[in-house]
Symmetry: C2
Amino acid sequence: MSVQEAKSERLESLPSKENFSEWYHEVIQQAEIMDIRYPVKGLYVWYPFGFRLRQLVYGKLREIMDRDHNEVYFPALIPETELEKEGEHIKGFENEVYWVTHGGLTPLDVKLALRPTSETAIYPMFKLWVRSHADLPLKVYQIVNTFRYETKHTRALIRLREITSFKEAHTVHATFEEAEKQVRTAIGYYKEFYDFLAIPYLIIRRPEWDKFPGAAYTVAFDTVMPDGRTMQIGTVHHLANNFARTFDITYETANGEHEFVHQTCYGISERCIAALISIHGDDLGLVLPFEASPVQIVIIPVLYKGREGEVLELCKRILGRVKGFGYRVILDDSDERPGAKYYKWELKGAAMRMEVGPREVAENTVVVSFRDERKKFKISMKELTKEKIEEWAAEMKERMRRAALNRMREKIRYFDSVTEVKKWAGRGVALVHLCSSTECGDTLEEEVGGSILGRFEEKPGWIDADVDGGCIVCGGKGYLNAIARTY
Amino acid sequence: MSVQEAKSERLESLPSKENFSEWYHEVIQQAEIMDIRYPVKGLYVWYPFGFRLRQLVYGKLREIMDRDHNEVYFPALIPETELEKEGEHIKGFENEVYWVTHGGLTPLDVKLALRPTSETAIYPMFKLWVRSHADLPLKVYQIVNTFRYETKHTRALIRLREITSFKEAHTVHATFEEAEKQVRTAIGYYKEFYDFLAIPYLIIRRPEWDKFPGAAYTVAFDTVMPDGRTMQIGTVHHLANNFARTFDITYETANGEHEFVHQTCYGISERCIAALISIHGDDLGLVLPFEASPVQIVIIPVLYKGREGEVLELCKRILGRVKGFGYRVILDDSDERPGAKYYKWELKGAAMRMEVGPREVAENTVVVSFRDERKKFKISMKELTKEKIEEWAAEMKERMRRAALNRMREKIRYFDSVTEVKKWAGRGVALVHLCSSTECGDTLEEEVGGSILGRFEEKPGWIDADVDGGCIVCGGKGYLNAIARTY
């Protein structure tokens, strides 16, 4: 693995993660995930190191999607005439669409939208692709750049004007029920993906007023960020036959009748990487699960005058062995002092560190530490096997998963009085019972200054509160809802 | 491997490849490379099958680039202020840039260009990334969508408004000479890539008036299409310090002085796939080298009543064995007749076909044929080894390479009279001796109706004509030049 990197800045120490917003801003730049200095607001550059992380994370997503979907690519430019066909849908996007109006100096006959999402690019083609029940189900996905004219505060990977890596899947089914089954399947895929990253999540059905424009309903994955705000990191939409009616997508049944299809779509953006960085990172920088680390193992020689040769020789033996296991490993034999190397590789989240000095050479041992624990221990060279490393990697992920889940649980509380929710506001997620009326919802949101995320699609076992209960506002029949400030 | 495909159209037979333009149009659609029915001129949809081909071809390109470059991603939107900094450069692109002028209903303060290529997005950041000689060389690449407002006749993969997969590399060096060395290296990479695809090429230095806007010089890879027109399928540019001066990219030398860097950039677009399809295809459809075939081997059962079970059993044994070798293989056990299956998989360029009927079951044999030759032969199951298949694949590629090179050579002729060149016009490449004056160049181009491609950067051994000779127009000191109609 090559370590050519853009050596742009001397390293400065990170702000404490308690100042989450500053910490995030700095870690993105200093760990060389993205360069935030591109001369347009809301647009960022993927550094080589960040790009490798992106490849690893999206590689996993591709692996999961490839089981059951075909990858495709639809154009980035959508004619105004198609984008505006679905009334609800365009209302949801019209204020944030970028419009291409000129080619060279020539005004275009039909304005072109830079895709904010691809329903209106894809579904006119689905009309051509789907003829009969034998063509169903149809399941495709693409990983593409999408665009939003964000006027709010922008932030790398979280709120951007070019989302460089939006994974969007689109499926077509004969019936509402089959589409609903696909919604369950998609939720399963997203669980697997976030479990792989050891990122805890809540699976919540959005309220009517907050569903995807044009959908029958929306199920979202939310995680809780270190500052207590939630971040939506994935959505699954049941589209019923709403888009099918607009785009006239029908199929011939076995009986020769023509029916509208039913559809789903579901997406994950590079917010998955924002979550990975934010949920696990610490004051020293990135903490990444072994499988997602661009540098899984870093070997650092601790050199003493006159003993350099033998130390480097053992380092190279370790390098050769670990490479042979198929891991991404670096021997950092640069001229920097060991302390500077520790600092650098902690910042970049190398999952495991192996150190070798003259003592290790004499004993034929190696000093090992894990990025999450930072405790050192020593093992003999004989013990350094692939099985051992896999065991460490699994233990590390389990520790990271538990720690992240515990931190999330601390930020989620049940309340039965609006006054208490107000006190909690800005610190995390409030669980409350709430009836279905928009009035009670509006009242609560205004009083406490957060957004209603919705009801649990799958209530986690560690949440004790009952699903049913009296509405916190009117006292009528209510259901367990989550409310929080959001990204 | 899943074979879910968009079954959009009943297959119709292809036009003969002699009508190249029609053949190309139809094969792209019928083989399900791209759907050409997207409702905007010059924009096309990658079908699942086409996308798999794209992944295989670009996978090879990535593998080559990854040896020596880091992959990155720069934004798709370039502010007008940056795009227009380099005077030559913007003149070369101003008529074909798409402009984003509005976000929602709001006019933007600074217009944003959809990248036609990324020099002006990347180089302002290189200014920040490069500080000292220790940061050099810097070598990055990205594979991105780029945009051109094409007003001419558009054609899938060849002349498009969204080039979905432009591989562009950008390198930074201390000196002109080091950049020149990188030009040689890049030419070497591109040779390797096109050799992998068995696509023959000419390596030609473009004349001054046709070089990349802002470059010191441009070396291009051209191939000759079946209709005799050439297609540029790759370019390598030496930028000298032209862009460095514009974007103020300097480095500190070992002596503490500040010098402008020297740069190169080089790119390959999805024209590489257009070439792959056009150069090797035949009247029946795609012909693809084994390593680039989405379906490398198709197994077709020839069923007779009462013998279906045993035939399918042998087919599955073959499937299991060949899958075990790691190949992309499909057992087509659909209800269609064998003839229809042959037709389908010939169209899609499955490199090898294996057929099994009751006779093969009795003999424990399998009938094999290759897509390029279409001669059938029989081997025993024992002979069906990984080594055998690799040998076949290598032989097939060598046959394809030779056949394609021979076809190209037939379309390249040397001439020493303008009258003869005129007769040849539209049939292929004319080689002529030409002096360096633009007058003689203009005269020749006007007389014969083609474009001067330039002088050979590397003259192939099979071209007999001398490098030096009297100018075909004025009789003065001339050099061997190629002239042709171009895509």
